[in-house]
């Protein structure tokens, strides 16, 4: 039987550690992906992911279900990402490796994918990563939450605590910058 997040949260509050483990398993990847796309550093993204679940566990008794569990987790993770950026005193920077690691490339290859396709896919991913790194934090966050986590405008507005129209404006501005930057990459 598959429990909903809310059911697992209720069981965790009653002291069922396995339920919380299930929540960790369920949300570990999305939270890691959110952290990575926001701060752009793999190791730090993992730390943020781990800390997110630790904080969630501590605060679980206070979780009243006024928001979705996932939104609550996203908020914790985004706050940690913000703390990270403040602590590091620098804009989040995505630092793709300079050299292509062929072994890593080969490991990432889909079974039916040629090496040329794989290199092209990696190049494209890197181009997106670089373009995203140029965005101001609030635009990047809006795009990450919309594009990669499928949140509605309203959910994003609630999560970041800003008006609905601001979320849409940030998305418009962010996509406009990305369009320009990705066009430059295509010309190279």
């Amino acid at each position: 039987m598959t429990w909903t997040d809310e059911e697992l949260v209720a069981k965790s509050i009653r002291g069922d550690a396995d339920s919380f483990n299930e929540l960790v398993l369920r949300w570990e990847r999305p939270i890691y992906a959110l952290a990575y796309r926001t701060i752009g550093r793999e190791e730090d993204a993992r730390d943020v992911c781990q800390e997110t679940f630790l904080r969630a566990f501590r605060a679980l008794p206070g979780f009243r279900g006024q928001a979705k569990f996932s939104s609550w987790l996203y908020r914790i993770a985004l706050n940690l990402c913000r703390d990270w950026a403040r602590r590091e005193r620098r804009a989040p920077v995505v630092q793709p490796p300079e050299d292509i690691d062929l072994l890593e490339l080969a490991a990432a290859r889909e079974p039916s994918e040629s090496i040329e396709d794989l290199v092209a896919r990696k190049d494209l991913s890197r181009a997106v990563e670089r373009a995203m790194a140029l965005l101001p934090e609030e635009q990047r966050t809006a795009i990450v939450l919309k594009e990669y986590h499928g949140l509605t405008f309203q959910e994003i507005a609630d999560l970041i605590g800003c008006p609905l129209s601001t979320v849409k404006t940030r998305l418009y501005q962010g996509l406009t910058v990305l369009r320009r930057e990705l066009a430059k990459t295509e010309k190279l």
């Binding site: 793999e42 190791e43 996509l175 369009r179």
Partner: protein
Amino acid sequence: MTEKLCTYHRSDRDVTLIAYVYDDIDASTRVEFEAHLAACERCRDDIESFRDVRATLSHWYPPEPKPRSAPRQAVLRHPQWWRQMPVWAQVAAAMLVLGVSAGLANLDIRHDANGFTVRTGWSKPAAVAGSQNTTAMKDSSTVSRDELLALEQRLRAEVRQSHASTTPAVARPASADAELLRKVRSLVEESERREQRELALRMAQVITDLNAQRLADLRKIDVSLRGVQNNLGVEVLKQQQSLNYLATRVSQRQ
């Protein structure tokens, strides 16, 4: 090139456009905006280009987290033992280090009529004059190695005592998290093991593919070489025949 003008009557054109692109728009606004789109090339271009951008964005995947031997403590950092030491103990320890270093260097510190002088044991004194005075000063200010060692041991004992008394106080609040931390770590480790297995399988597949490709290439090269050798053999044979013919003709003329 003239800029295409948008005649959308509402002030929130960008907001409406983005809502349309993400298909997160109420029905009446959609109908209204689609009517506008039919006549507005600029908005149509924007929508098309934003859809292209979105398609490109879908190619960005975060890297698989690399396995690491031990979880990093950057965020979940436990207080280091020296941070739990009282300031006086830290200062005393620093002074002890300086004192021991000075002792090892056989440092000679003097204050006399010539002023304040610091000299290592390997340097000779500049002047012997007034040595009585300075010797007395030296006797009263120099610390023997035994005294330094005794001081070091006493401070170490105090630091250990201080550490022992602060550790349980720190451990108590952390103990509530310890179990969770252990579980999160074990989950992460399990995930890493899974990824390592997957990576190993993929690597094995890549190596097999590479070997197969190498063998196929070698076979091709072999076949090509044989072809070249055959061609060369035929050419050499022809040359020999030509030479034989020429030699025969020359000998016939003679």
